[in-house]
Symmetry: C2
Subunit: 333 residues, 2 copies
């Protein structure tokens, strides 16, 4: 046994695979686009392909791995290895035995956990959490996920804690992809931002966003496209990014007023990218809503960056991960 | 030693004192109005008077008590026994040695703690918390306080957790007494509600609220006056109570989305009164904002009712209270 493990972060846009060594350091990686058509079996095949490519990148055989962990959206039943209602994935309404399917493809043990929780746990154990035993994880991407760590341990509540994206920032506000009104994610999730950009563009507002999308051969507004539009001083893009940051700031401030923890760790595709350029803006937007504005929380970027989800998924392999995540991830939507 | 302890709940409107026996059951009580003029020394004198009256009600001498605990608003330094910046109390801007002053008046040891936290701790140990080890305490009164208990222990964060009243419910919304915008307390605190009622009444809207206030010889809209106005089908009172309940529902739902705990304990003067008549309304207003709307938290009334604050304060006397509250209450605003 080499002590190496595989991790797969299953996102709405991309599948990121990584191979990590015994200490949790990545030694190989590969990325694939998430299939837009077909069904769960097609997604599982693309995941297996990404993992094989990551193993090749690490100059290892998949059979040499101790196992593979998966961070998945949707409702994860860790014990059964199934994923249900993964809304951003094609044809994935019912329960699909993802762990079994991948085990069949890869021939090694597979454990499935919640995507946000595993990414946050990776930060706790290997990233920013080493200096901040209590922190609020903010994962800004397709939606906005959250995770709460108190004194070095995840707080999961009855299994679904951390839904920062569905903290209300504006009573009777915009409609969220979840169907409710005024959630933070209704303003800040990549999906919501794209919908607002599209509506306003179709109503006549100029923007380079969709030209850039077509030029890049994409069918959605990725974080890279938003960043490029900002660099081209696109007014609509700037306004929507600013609105997203305001919404995140309000929700995070509300969470800090409740929990009074000293650190906020910002990750996710959008978070890692715009945390670098807009961190000061986010901090400034938070302060007016903090009850203790004399001691705002430290705002730090997820140290594991883009690979955090895959590295976190790899932590599911072996005792530690299963004990702290596998047992509780079942009830998490 | 009789094992009896005294507790004083210092509120913006009233001072509630209680004597409890060894088991925490109240055996005597007395209430005084909080002085509206003068300064901290006048408030301390009224507190001592209330405590003496409660001892008389219990047919005990103050000297027989093991000690007296105080739940206070403002910034409490438990170790120094001081209270600073108690905004709703007369002339109380600087630090006042409340514990020393009361010790001088009463001749027994005095311990000071945060009002919301001690009321919540009373519910944890003697009330609703006995069946709900994890709960969110909501204390709806002059303002709206909160307290978080996770697995039977208070979560205090860096000392100021639980500021539910300052969870944002409407970005760029109404101005809160704290000076910020859109806080829940800006809609639901008794002080905010009175200000809105006054502004709208002065602008010409009819209401019986201020007639009732004068008739009762009060100088503010107490929870009893609000209740009486509702019984008289006062439209403005009904609208403002409903708005308050909506705001509380949104903030509580946000907190539950974050923490996913299974119980909400509603206390405080307004909370105990309107929880009985408007509990269903509150529950219904919460559900549309709950991420897991299939398993809403149980909403229960604070079992210790009006006396909860004083009983909780009495828990500060002796080891248990000092260990869990005294040590941490210092930093709590």
């Amino acid at each position: 046994m080499s002590g190496h493990r595989g991790g797969i972060d299953l996102g709405g846009t991309k599948i990121q695979a990584a191979i990590v060594d015994e200490g949790g350091s990545p030694v190989g990686k590969a990325r694939r686009e998430t299939p837009r058509k077909g069904g769960p079996a097609d997604v599982a095949a693309a995941m297996a392909e990404a993992l094989r490519a990551a193993a090749a990148d690490a100059e290892l055989e998949v059979a040499d791995l101790e196992g593979v962990g998966v961070g998945s959206p949707g409702v994860v039943d860790a014990e059964a290895g199934t994923v249900t209602a993964a809304k951003n994935l094609p044809g994935w309404d019912g329960a699909y035995p993802l762990a079994d399917a991948l085990r069949g493809e890869l021939g090694v043990p597979v454990t499935v956990g919640n995507d946000v929780q595993v990414a946050a746990e990776a930060e706790l154990r290997l990233g920013a959490g080493r200096r901040h035993p209590s922190f609020l994880g903010v994962f800004w991407g397709t939606g906005v996920g959250g995770a709460i760590f108190l004194d070095g341990r995840p707080w999961l509540g009855r299994g679904a804690a951390g839904e920062l994206g569905h903290v209300v920032v504006k009573h009777d506000g915009a409609v969220c992809p979840c169907g409710r009104r005024g959630c933070m994610e209704a303003y800040a999730g990549r999906v919501s931002m794209e919908r607002m950009a599209r509506e306003r563009h179709e109503a006549g507002e100029p923007t380079v966003l969709f030209d850039l999308m077509r030029k890049k051969g994409r069918d959605r507004l990725t974080s890279g496209i938003w960043a490029r539009a900002l660099r081209q001083q696109d007014a609509l893009a700037a306004e929507l990014i600013d609105q997203a940051i305001e919404a995140i700031a309000v929700a995070v401030a509300s969470a800090i007023n409740l929990l009074d923890i000293g650190a906020v760790v910002l990750g996710g595709g959008m978070g890692v990218r715009f945390g670098k350029t807009h961190g000061e803006r986010l901090r400034a937007a938070m302060v007016p809503h903090l009850f203790r504005d004399d001691s705002p929380p430290q705002l730090v970027l997820a140290e594991l960056g883009d690979l955090g989800g895959a590295i976190g998924a790899s932590l599911l392999v072996g005792k530690g991960g299963e004990a702290s995540l596998g047992a509780t991830a079942g009830a998490r939507p």
